[in-house]
Symmetry: C2
Subunit: 262 residues, 2 copies
């Protein structure tokens, strides 16, 4: 496994890879967990070369505190990537990805861009799409893997790929959950033990939601001291964002019977 820190370094490797070779990209912000692991494993099965990018993208954090506190576990991440058979870890500095500062932005006008996370985190999806476009153009993968946990993000990336005619297959891979049903997330590591227990209980309540009991469940969550940013059915899918202490946790699912546990 090779760790690449500059765009130029990757580009000179990329020119040695024939166009016919499949390259799977798993774009992450590090702090890898079982959700990422599943993405990498699927990429491994479907491609000759696997690239994992680790880049905490300042442009997608509407809250600078959230950016500053974003967990970093570099040594563990590299060890996991190595164990999973990743070929290249692309780990650039911010100045590599934003050589001119943050002067470009991809905006998307899409039903999923302005609700839920799009509404509550202004600029978030523009920041995501911009960095994903940069990574796509740098890495030039044939396949890219994103988790269904960030469903809105996946759908917007798919719209971007279609709208800009990128020759990249986007796979939306199932959310991976702990036995409690709580989806794996880098932010879980910031929960205290008490908060973790509360998050698990909240997750179970959320996953019992249907159109009829949605308001009732929301009430029960608030009763437990949990801030509910939204808990809502949209296009046959339940979307939730809650805040436990200062930790914000999102989830979404269509049918709890089909959840993937690890």
């Amino acid at each position: 496994m090779k760790v690449i820190e500059t765009v130029a370094q990757w580009q000179s490797i990329r020119t040695t890879i024939a166009d016919s070779v499949s390259i799977g990209l798993v774009a992450t912000m590090g702090c890898l967990h079982k959700g990422h692991e599943a993405l990498i494993e699927q990429a491994r099965q479907e491609n000759s070369i696997i690239v994992v990018s680790i880049f905490v993208n300042p442009a997608q954090f509407n809250d600078p505190k959230d950016f500053k506190n974003y967990p970093e576990t570099k040594a563990d991440d590299l060890a996991l990537a190595q164990r999973l058979g990743v070929d290249y870890v692309f780990m650039p500095a911010v100045s590599e990805i934003y050589p001119q500062g943050e002067c470009l932005l991809i905006e998307v006008d899409h039903p999923l861009a302005t609700i839920f996370e799009g509404e509550l985190r202004p600029g978030h999806y523009a920041g995501v799409l911009t960095v994903v476009m940069k990574l796509f153009q740098i890495i030039r993968p044939t396949h890219a893997y994103f988790g269904e946990k960030d469903y809105q993000q996946c759908r917007l990336i798919q719209a971007m790929v279609k709208g800009f005619f990128l020759s990249i297959e986007i796979a939306m891979c199932p959310t991976i959950r702990e036995i409690s049903g709580l989806p794996f997330s880098s932010r879980n590591s910031r929960l205290t033990l008490d908060q973790k227990i509360l998050a698990e209980a909240a997750s179970q309540m959320i996953r019992s939601v249907n159109q009829a009991n949605c308001e009732e469940v929301k009430y029960q969550l608030v009763q437990q001291g949990i801030q509910v940013d939204y808990l809502q059915l949209f296009e046959g899918r339940i979307f939730s964002a809650i805040k436990i202490g200062s930790i914000r946790l999102i989830d979404n699912f269509v049918d709890t019977d089909q959840c993937v546990y690890s």
Copy 2:
């Protein structure tokens, strides 16, 4: 020469062209004139394959009337392209380029994005950058040629190429002028004979501008019934936009001694 009308048709040709082959793109809105001719000739000298795109991009017209009245000279354009040794003319319908409607937009935060044309044509450069990005991703050229007449556009495209790490060399080719000094423009064909004479006189006055006489020349233009949107020195370059009747004409130059006449 082959005329291509769909993205899919070009994509299937593109896969047969090796990565090592240079492809020069001249992106136009049709109504080809000597300015385009110079771009195509330079592209011809520097590439194995030449693609000229002809696409009147609705997204870059802030004024729907301007879009509706944009001149179209398809038969002449194809004849010229053929004569100049163009290999492919890419001439898609609007629905090919905007399959999801106009839902994506590339915004650029750049000193040249918010002055002159950027200020007076809100949304214009976002529309330009978006369609150029689409064309770049579809055509996948190694080189692309733009005219210095649209200096702000060139610089913003260069910023986009750098910011998104596109492997495309952008050439900014000198403005081509009539003997009068008036730059060739598709919009010139909409001038009446009287308007044309006035435009030529205005161009000569504009090209006499320096920092000292700028306001004086502006006054003289207005005296002749010409609307002056701006006439201003910026970064050592004179930028102008005037309106003769309903026809808006732009120009820019550093040094009139180095102008290219045809």
